[in-house]
Subunit: 339 residues, 2 copies
Amino acid sequence: MAAKNKNRSKVNLSEVAKAAGVSKMTASRVLRNASGFSDETRDKVLEQVERLGYVPNRIAATFGSEQTSTIIGVCVPHLSSSLFGAVLDSTNGALAKFGYQTMIGAHENSPETEEMWVKNILSWRPAGLILSGHTHTRTTRELIKSQGIPVVEIWNLNTSPIDISVGFNHFDCGHEMALYILGQGHQRIGYVGADSAAPGMGALRRKGFVAALKSSSTDLAAQEILNDRSGFYAGFYGTENILNRVGDLDAIYFQDDAMAIGGIFYCQSQGMSVPEDIGIAGWGSMEAASVLPQRLTTTVVSTQALGKTAAEALISRVRGEPVNDVIITPTRLAPGNTI
Amino acid sequence: MAAKNKNRSKVNLSEVAKAAGVSKMTASRVLRNASGFSDETRDKVLEQVERLGYVPNRIAATFGSEQTSTIIGVCVPHLSSSLFGAVLDSTNGALAKFGYQTMIGAHENSPETEEMWVKNILSWRPAGLILSGHTHTRTTRELIKSQGIPVVEIWNLNTSPIDISVGFNHFDCGHEMALYILGQGHQRIGYVGADSAAPGMGALRRKGFVAALKSSSTDLAAQEILNDRSGFYAGFYGTENILNRVGDLDAIYFQDDAMAIGGIFYCQSQGMSVPEDIGIAGWGSMEAASVLPQRLTTTVVSTQALGKTAAEALISRVRGEPVNDVIITPTRLAPGNTI
DNA sequence: CTGAAAGCGCTAACAC
DNA sequence: GTGTTAGCGCTTTCAG
């Protein structure tokens, strides 16, 4: 008797059903709001649910229905990042609205770390996955395909996604900015980035930037790619580094706004004025830029739109509704007065 | 036949076991790394796991073992927030290391939203919960207690937690800062905050601040609490608002560093110098402050330490190891030159 | 070191 | 509108 009661402290459906004087099946129908019960029955069941403090068991429900769970796995480079934080927030909000739960992961731009996470998450039989970053290992791809679940790859536009891609065109962002900077009459142009050990999409913007310069017969005058995470301070000392090496730059393109803002402060600390002495441009429309006395020249992006679109596309696919495979999230070069 | 094969595309333990020429039980032991098998057996099983691309089914495993899952629910006010982003990152990292999965939620400082999330998460039979924010509804408390799972309440120190509390002492932070500001000779002191509709811990710091002023027979000269989320721009226009109403303030305490930085920029935009014309103080040691020409007077906190400590405390409790119920995460007033 | 039997809590499928 | 039967894939328990 005692031995049998180990885990029986938690109320289960049977007890609710018995208390309500109906069968398990009927109680189950009421709780899932499936059809096939009278109003009277519903009231009886819900009354007992309330009285007994019944908490449904999704583990058992998922298991019993032999389907995937309502868990969605979302893996981003870092959870502490204003850009990805906003993506997570909008993604989670949209998923929750549709009744899905978010299980998170941080891969730190390492495909191997991502693979480990994928292996793990797949064992929860998720309804779908949202991945970010550039590359996945072969095993990652195979695992996902073998499970046959929908995947949305976010952050970068990907013309041949595993399943669905929702992203910015980072290459074009860099390309466009290079042309703009050249158009402003700059010639000695540098680039300051971070994450050298595990490059993210900043590397792609840099590529587009360099390509555009090349097409105008200009070379990148210097570049400084730190072995550090992007941030205000990284921008500050990255600028210090590059200017110490190459003093005559007349413009710098930064990996993102946080670094660009750090760069502006370094220049000011050295008595240089922006944009007279040196032009500065960033990427990402960071909120911090809104309080600067100058308007930062940058590429405006909506990480919130990205996250929401990704979540909605995933849900549509899960439900078998038609979805575009490749969805580009628009970006816009916003000229300021820092370049 | 066809009807029976609906979901059999996914390999299960039985098939692995059969292919390896052992029983399900033996294969299960190998995969869980439980004892009771020979090296030879292990190799045979793992070979088949590899060959067949077997992905374990945690839903079934959790269900079969009649225990809680290895899911941990973590609910913070916002996922896009540098402070909570860092908490999430360190929490998730620590939990993953111990083999737990993080299921997230954002309650936006609303106890009702939190309650809905708790109800939902509990149906996944999580091993534990990490909650943040100030108050929980009665139902939330009851639900958690009825499930009998460990909970860590983070962010604010709580001397009578549901289970475990790991947090900063926000009241003391405000108190200490008030005494410091008074000690610097300021008299006409204002406060600028945000989140008026759903106050978080900033409200508690404000209380401590006001209490300390009172004990020195000083009143808060003015306060401006915006109906908006904290951020650089909120600090900027919050400062504009308060100074337009009360022009003769000689110091302002901000809800956090983001707002303080916004405030500094507003003052500069008006030709006021900090700290000569007006003193400014914040809270939270935000990275952005590192690039300012001045060092911001603030309270240094480690959200990373908080997250890690919380995760470790939770795991210890889950494992039945001894843990302190109340763990205070230290903070330190760091005098800068903005006040 | 290995295996057989029972059962976890729920839902699908089919009766009534 | 409601109940019955079977079974999801794994682990626990107990027997060898």
